[in-house]
Symmetry: C2
Amino acid sequence: MHFGLFGGAKRGTDDSSGDSQSYTEYVDYVIAAERLGFHSAFSVEHHFTGFGQVSAVLSMLAYIAGRTSRIRIGTAVLVLPWHDPILLAEQASTVDLLSGGRLDLGVGRGYRPNEFHGFDIDPGDEANERYEECLEVLRKSWTTSGRFSHRGKHFAYNDVIVEPTPAQRPHPPIWVGAGSEASIRSAARNGMQLLVDQFGTIDMTCQRVDWYRDEIERNGGVFDPDHVCAARHLTLLHDEDLHTLDAEYDFRLAGIMRLREASRVPGDDRELTVADHAFYDTARANTEDAVIGGAAQDCIVKLKTLEAAGVGQVLMIDPTGGIPRLEHFAETVMPSFS
Amino acid sequence: MHFGLFGGAKRGTDDSSGDSQSYTEYVDYVIAAERLGFHSAFSVEHHFTGFGQVSAVLSMLAYIAGRTSRIRIGTAVLVLPWHDPILLAEQASTVDLLSGGRLDLGVGRGYRPNEFHGFDIDPGDEANERYEECLEVLRKSWTTSGRFSHRGKHFAYNDVIVEPTPAQRPHPPIWVGAGSEASIRSAARNGMQLLVDQFGTIDMTCQRVDWYRDEIERNGGVFDPDHVCAARHLTLLHDEDLHTLDAEYDFRLAGIMRLREASRVPGDDRELTVADHAFYDTARANTEDAVIGGAAQDCIVKLKTLEAAGVGQVLMIDPTGGIPRLEHFAETVMPSFS
């Protein structure tokens, strides 16, 4: 099992001014993770929150590529409906090439109402169409030999060739953030790697991996745990701090609620829907179950359960622990995994 | 007078496979330039040439920012009609922030027929509209306090806020590539810094700077040479190599013709127009005049002429000399300038 980071937003939430310190600290955090043996750093793409989340994720990763040499760099996720697919293919190719083939390209359809509102894109059919068309053009860009043309509903190109060629051939691994059985089975059929969310309980995550494995095997493929990645909140504590675990869960719940609020359209103060509640699961018991928290041994037990289910990589979300917690994790948890 | 680099395409033309070596060599070249005291490295943005020019210029600059610490990084130029202005503002802000305020943002309308053809954008009215609207939204993004909305002909946004804030306030310097008197005077009135092209003779360049200075002074402003940058081909030779200067001019002319061909729509083999000939000036005498070439003293004389006219920075184009020529220039030419 590999361990990575999931974040990028963290420093922005600590420092609402969104100034350079927050970005600098995040970069230092990734550099420390590389030194400590973490496998990857995945960063979000978000827009218009007002608290400085990473927006231009490929620019951020390009910079991090220049400051590191081994750690993989990923998007979790690039929201395809916001992007021109040819420009996106060029950016991803460039980052992959310059990083020496270290890019993991996580993609999604978007889910935050304030982002659809900001970009003036309908979150229903239009988002789906743009997602599908963007993915189609990305794949054409990387698998067509020579020039190609494309005439779709949202994009048209004539006799184009995407340069530079990425280092990973034919293209960086494409990961998809998926949760429902239908979308997970679709990802498996389409050769996409699976990113499982940060909110689901351990049982839910294992169920999702089962769907993915089953669909691959039904189609004659061979399941590979390295193609499954789960995001998890990390609250590894020293023994003398275990009494703070309850407060850490409170903090995590407050964080989920803040994410939920940040996704609202500005000025929208309607009651939350059932879907909002389901996605941003704030049930205390589920959060306690989902979080990798407590002493090292508690964390190891949960991670072993995920590993046995076929999760090849866990991406850690940790808005409070900083580099000392990464060091603690590398020292006490990592050695239990090959 | 400051000296910078203009390029990015260079390694691609040396190596038509567009593989990682070409990008790696370019990055090493910029790192060497920083060490030698060069002030900046400006990179082109081009698409669909088939020989690996830099396409995702801000991703490239983000990576270079991670590998350097002092040298300014610039675009020459970002072609606005290809871009979504909000995504572009986010990318530029991110690169500026992560580089510690080292970004220079050169912008243009585009001129290569094959790029308009590839992006399926009309090179006439549509390109102008997109350029103007993109520039308007970029400026709003960086000068509006809080959220704003925009409804234009090509783009619409609701209640958006561009994050992160760039390090340079209110935004990175905006440079415009301009050649005609009307466009240069317009740049001066609009607070944009001036990038003068690589093809014009020394007299033509001085004339262009005069128009810029005159328009600033007419409007009550104070002319600043640091706001004027000229691109120049560099062919500094050691005394024992001076007999190769003629061959270097031949090489330069062949390079201009190759650029001209690369800008054609694939399959188009029509005769060149007067405008093509004017832009890609291949008259031998004009090329010899425009190039900063010969022994160090010859280069110094031409550079002093430009400096006296008000050019504050010269960006060197040198597809053949590599790091040794940068070292030669730093040793023999730079000391004559403060």
